[in-house]
């Protein structure tokens, strides 16, 4: 604990030094939304002249930064519990969403040829389904020619919000996974090789015949990777695309989630992609620097209004209108900026 405060203090010096130079909005945290925050920041700077200094240092580090009050906002892929928010006087809301996609590298299998369901995917990551011609996979894929080769499981070696959402989903649909592995940013994987970052997993899967991995949708799409379709909680086969992510987001019950503490995997609905994830912003309800907090809120407000198209261009999913309205009427009203 001491050591981490020390690190935080070190960061504090660095951050405050840069904050003096320009009146930029300062934030730190999750790496997953970094590309879209950068894009929004560029456009926002052109529109208003105010820049954003966002350090993509990871969700955990982002939470530490905001707790140490070295940044105006923190960003995390893992929603915080109400009591943790209350302890520090923080306010939380979801800013943008994405989807996690299973990607495979199999001879003769093109994108969308293969379909998996949650329990089978979990069994692959448990090491129980070892080969591609396992009965469980064959049953889901009648007519698809599956090789009798072993499945090379690829997963993240670094702690990650993507892993958190992925393991939360697998735990939700497979009791063995829940008891044997569980959900977390870094978990004790029974099988597989670990690669660093979404790009590491993507590169590994593209290089290894017979492999399977999980990456954010943007990485799968930009690398032209072969994805697998999923069977969702309604029992329907869905493809990973903006519409199915948006359907999951629309069906998510944000209203009954206190402080937006909701992991939106495994949502109901015929169209819903089962592994959809949101990324969150943390700010103080009583910020020390009220002007900076107001500037940050203005940026997020602008992003909600003008940033939807930019998000879709980068394969993120904008928050639904109803959720934005709720964020503005609940979370934002508790932040004192005057």
């Amino acid at each position: 604990m001491k050591f981490s405060t020390l690190i935080a203090a070190g960061f504090a010096l660095a951050v405050s030094a840069s904050a003096v130079l320009a009146d930029d909005i300062s934030g730190a945290g999750a790496t997953f939304p970094f590309p879209i925050y950068s894009k929004w920041a560029d456009a926002y700077k052109k529109a208003t002249g105010i820049g954003l200094n966002y350090q993509s240092i990871g969700s955990g580090a982002g939470i530490k930064q905001i707790q140490a009050k070295t940044v105006t906002f923190g960003a995390t892929d893992i929603p915080q519990k109400s009591e943790d928010l209350a302890k520090f006087g923080l306010v939380q809301w979801p800013q943008v969403m994405g989807g996690i996609v299973p990607v495979v590298n199999l001879e003769g299998i093109a994108a969308g040829d293969l379909v998996l369901d949650g329990p089978t995917l979990a069994n692959i990551y448990l090491g129980k389904v070892k080969a591609w011609d396992d009965a469980a996979i064959v049953k889901l894929n009648p007519g698809v020619k599956l090789p009798a080769t072993p499945i090379v499981v690829v997963r993240r070696s670094d702690g990650s919000g993507t892993t958190f959402n992925f393991t939360t989903y697998l735990s939700a649909v497979n009791a063995d996974f829940k008891s044997g592995v569980g959900a977390g940013q870094a978990v004790e994987w029974p099988v597989g090789v670990g690669a660093k970052g979404n790009d590491g997993v993507a590169a590994n899967v593209m290089q290894t015949k017979g492999s399977i991995g999980y990456v954010e949708y943007a990485f799968a799409k930009q690398n032209g990777m072969v994805h697998a379709d999923m069977i969702n909680s309604a029992g329907k086969r869905v493809k990973p695309k903006l519409e199915s992510f948006a359907a999951a987001a629309a069906n998510a019950d944000w209203n009954s989630a206190p402080n937006f503490n909701l992991v939106i995997v495994n949502q109901p609905g015929d169209m819903s992609w089962p592994m959809t994830n949101a990324t969150f912003i943390l700010m103080y309800s009583q910020p020390d620097d009220k002007a900076a907090a107001a500037a940050a809120l203005a940026f997020f407000d602008w992003s909600f209004t003008n940033g939807g198209k930019m998000a879709e261009e980068l394969d993120y999913i904008p928050m639904p209108e109803t959720v934005i309205a709720k964020i503005k009427s609940s979370a934002w009203t508790t932040i004192i900026t005057k």
């Binding site: 050591f3 670094d158 702690g159 990650s160 004790e188 994987w189």
Partner: protein, 334 residues
Amino acid sequence: MSTVTQSLSAAHSEATQKRARVLIGMAFGDKLFAFATKLAAYTVLLVLAGIIISLIVGAWPAITTFGFDFLITSRWAPQLEPEPVLGALAPIYGTLVSSFIAMLIAVPFGLGIAIFLTELCPHSLRKPIRLAIELLAGIPSIIYGMWGFFVLGPFLANYIEPGIVAAFADIPVLNAVFGGDMVSNLSLFNASLILAIMILPFITAIAVDVFSTVPPVLKEAAYGIGCTTWEVVNNVVLPFTRVGVVGGVMLALGRALGETMAVTFIIGNSFKISGSIFAPSTTISAAIASEFAESSGLHQSALILLGLLLFVLTFFVLATARFMLMRLEKRAGA
């Protein structure tokens, strides 16, 4: 007359004073120089002590929670509630085994190259080969990691390793060591091979330097009584340069134990102890590099404890090497 003497003696005393001043100035300069060097040396000690203390402070929660069990637990489960189960056995195993295999490959190769360069190589080839080896030392480790990841790993996994696995499939014990129901691009062996290439220049460069300190008269005498090149190397060159060679090997071992970036790329980062060298594994430094950024609480403390262990491990390995060297010296002296 008297005024002349007076002025003379005055000039004399002035000169004396001036000399004394200069001398005092020089003495002061000398003291300042001594102080500056002392300061530099003590600063290193201070920094070292500071690092050790901050490691111990950071690792303290993990030390008090896990105690000695940390060393003998092979599970690494940071996600468990309410308290994670974390043990260092798998990374320690991976660190030691990968370094051991790397040394097994790099030491004979490195010494072989050095002997060739100093004893057998035509003069025109010496410079280019030495330069190539020194360039190897200059390549950043991330480049080795990427090359291992994109080129060497797939090549070994697709063309070399399946053959080795098949060849040893029916031999007991060896079929476990070289076994693999899942040969992938990332494995303990691949990491060891990259490590071997990375430490090769250290061994070779130092061996070449110390081999060239052997007095030509000794070698010529040995050749004169009819020794073969092998006999000269084995009985004259190596005994004469033993200390330097072992020093180079130790330096290389130190680097292999602590190498981070390249290993993180290709070892597979799996906290499992497998008998097979073709299975993915992890090392202490790879574990820290992978997980530190997104760790907190006890998990982070355990990673710092891993760092402390690497510190201790490296110290012990180097101390053992020094001790062995001392015994070797004694025996050679007797």
